[in-house]
Symmetry: C2
């Protein structure tokens, strides 16, 4: 008494079909595809021919289920609209693709809760490892990771607690660009911050430290808004800043979007940049070199971060390098006309 045949997924061709067509057993097909050197050339050819003839596409689900390895890596980033993370993704992609791994992209929208939900959801795919943005995550998030024993690499920043991380010191970068403004003779240097994520707050900390060092920190020169940054917001914040503190003589914006909006507003208002007001951004996005005047900013090695983080994670997954590493890729000041 046979039952109704079930619906088949994909084109319906299975490894057994290929095996039958090639006159071998299923396991030989599996080996011919995954460990070719373990199969004699003659059979290997037969198998490959059958694969092509039938249009066979292996089922990742079955493979994952049987082997307990998904050859998949989860990447969690705060935003897909930010070039910074796209460049990082591009770097990751090249490394993973070469190693035969695929990438699951999760966009947390800068929200720790959403990040946790994403992790939960994507854990269903049993990723072999995770690439994370930033060091701070919701407490249950870290628990989940541990519970599942998932190798993780933290990107964009540097930890000192033994976690594997690839990035640069956000704080030092913020301090460095602030010092540059000080060297230009500015003394009442303001800070425009949006989004207020972990990294922005560290840049702010660096800014404060540099100013304190020079004896000219002034809390009244900081303007912070938790909303996502945009050029419009940069323009608005510039208005607010100058209205509140007309004596302000420089602005460090937490990212280039803000800076470019502020710069455009300066143009409209006829404010002399950098003489009357110097402006600096962060990240060195494409428009920074093209706006008027060109924007002084901090170039960040985000593509390289993606590449190195992916390599480190693959090493952890393969068990090659059990020990965690801490990779500082640095940053570079791009000094242009706006300062």
């Amino acid at each position: 008494m046979s039952r109704k045949p079930r619906v088949r997924s994909g084109s319906g061709v299975t490894m057994h079909d290929v095996a039958r067509a090639a006159g071998v057993s299923a396991i030989t097909v599996s080996r011919a595809l995954n460990q070719p050197q373990q199969v004699s050339p003659a059979l290997r050819d037969k198998v490959m021919q059958a694969v092509d003839a039938l249009g066979y596409v292996p089922s990742r689900s079955a493979s994952t289920l049987a082997s307990a390895r998904s050859r998949t890596v989860l990447v969690l980033i705060p935003s897909l609209g930010n070039t910074v993370f796209l460049d990082t993704l591009a770097g990751i992609e090249t490394v993973l693709a070469e190693a035969g791994y695929q990438m699951l992209i999760g966009n947390s929208h800068y929200d720790a809760d959403q990040e946790l939900q994403l992790l939960r959801a994507y854990l269903q795919h049993r990723p072999d490892g995770v690439l994370l943005t930033g060091l701070s995550h919701a407490a249950p998030f870290d628990d989940l990771l541990r519970r599942h024993g998932l190798p993780a690499v933290y990107m964009m920043d540097l930890a000192d607690d033994g976690r594997c991380c690839v990035g640069f010191s956000q704080e030092e970068a913020g301090a460095a660009i602030t010092r540059h403004l000080l060297e230009r003779g500015k003394r009442r240097i303001g800070f425009l911050g949006a989004q207020l994520d972990e990294r922005v707050m560290k840049r702010l900390a660096g800014y404060r430290a540099a100013l304190a060092e020079a004896g000219c920190h002034d809390a009244g020169l900081e303007w912070l808004d938790p909303a996502p940054s945009s050029m419009q917001m940069g323009a608005d914040m510039l208005d607010a800043a100058l209205a509140a503190r007309p004596d302000c003589d420089a602005l460090f914006c937490c990212n280039d979007d803000l800076a470019i909006g502020a710069l455009a507003r300066c143009q409209q208002l006829g404010i002399a940049v950098p003489a009357r007001l110097a402006v600096a951004g962060f990240n060195d996005l494409q428009p920074a070199a093209w706006c008027t005047p060109s924007l002084t900013t901090v170039a960040t090695p985000r593509r390289e971060i993606g590449i190195q983080a992916a390599r480190a994670l693959l090493a952890m997954i393969e068990g090659d390098a059990p020990q965690a590493l801490r990779l500082d890729l640095g940053f570079a000041l791009m000094l242009r006309r706006s300062s």
Copy 2:
């Protein structure tokens, strides 16, 4: 004689473990999670408690394998660095997430061969449907799709062959912005094109049609470069164009990046925009409203395209709406200072 236990994936907690903890059978756990209304509240609570207590995360692989449905949708786009596609992705994401579907993102880098490889690779995940960018794909690509009987929706453009598509007429958009330049009194209107993908070529066709209509098409005013567009390229192309045809009085750039680079170069060279040379872009990216002078461009409903395309695909997957649709979401001219 029992064998060695195999390595378990995930945290090692399976549906059976949950069932045992809750004192029910595995299938009841499955139903409590997937069709809650089919399980009595009492048992449902017990199950959910056990799920939480054990930190159970279902295995998508097992589910996919057993049900022949992956609840996964493949999205193929030409680039991750282009805001246009990111906005589309964002739209898709909201719809899919709400429906409990996950999205696999494939970046073809504007390359038909890579796109085919991506499809092959991602078919291993047995997606339930595909969202595609543009109408033209490699021939084996369409074969593969058919062979696997995959529901597909084509985004960004409009087909007339019964395929399900959501977008707007690239050609009409190109014609419309060209007509606007004609209305401004321009007669020697040039075209700057990069990337030269399907959509750029259609915008070019629209540009030609509009000029031919007005009796002033001039093939010597077209500058085309298959390399990816950038602001730098826009600046370089402006130089080349004016060197070759100093009589050129307007430029339609195939995208905003090019236009903004050209605009910036005009500023540097002291070329009066729009009096001496009008400039128009395409897509209405954020900087278009902020550059100097602000950029006339074509606003495209890309987020909405993502939303509607995802909805259409889900309908096809669920079998609600077997018939294909052709959804024209239109475009809008954004007339600003550069024309």
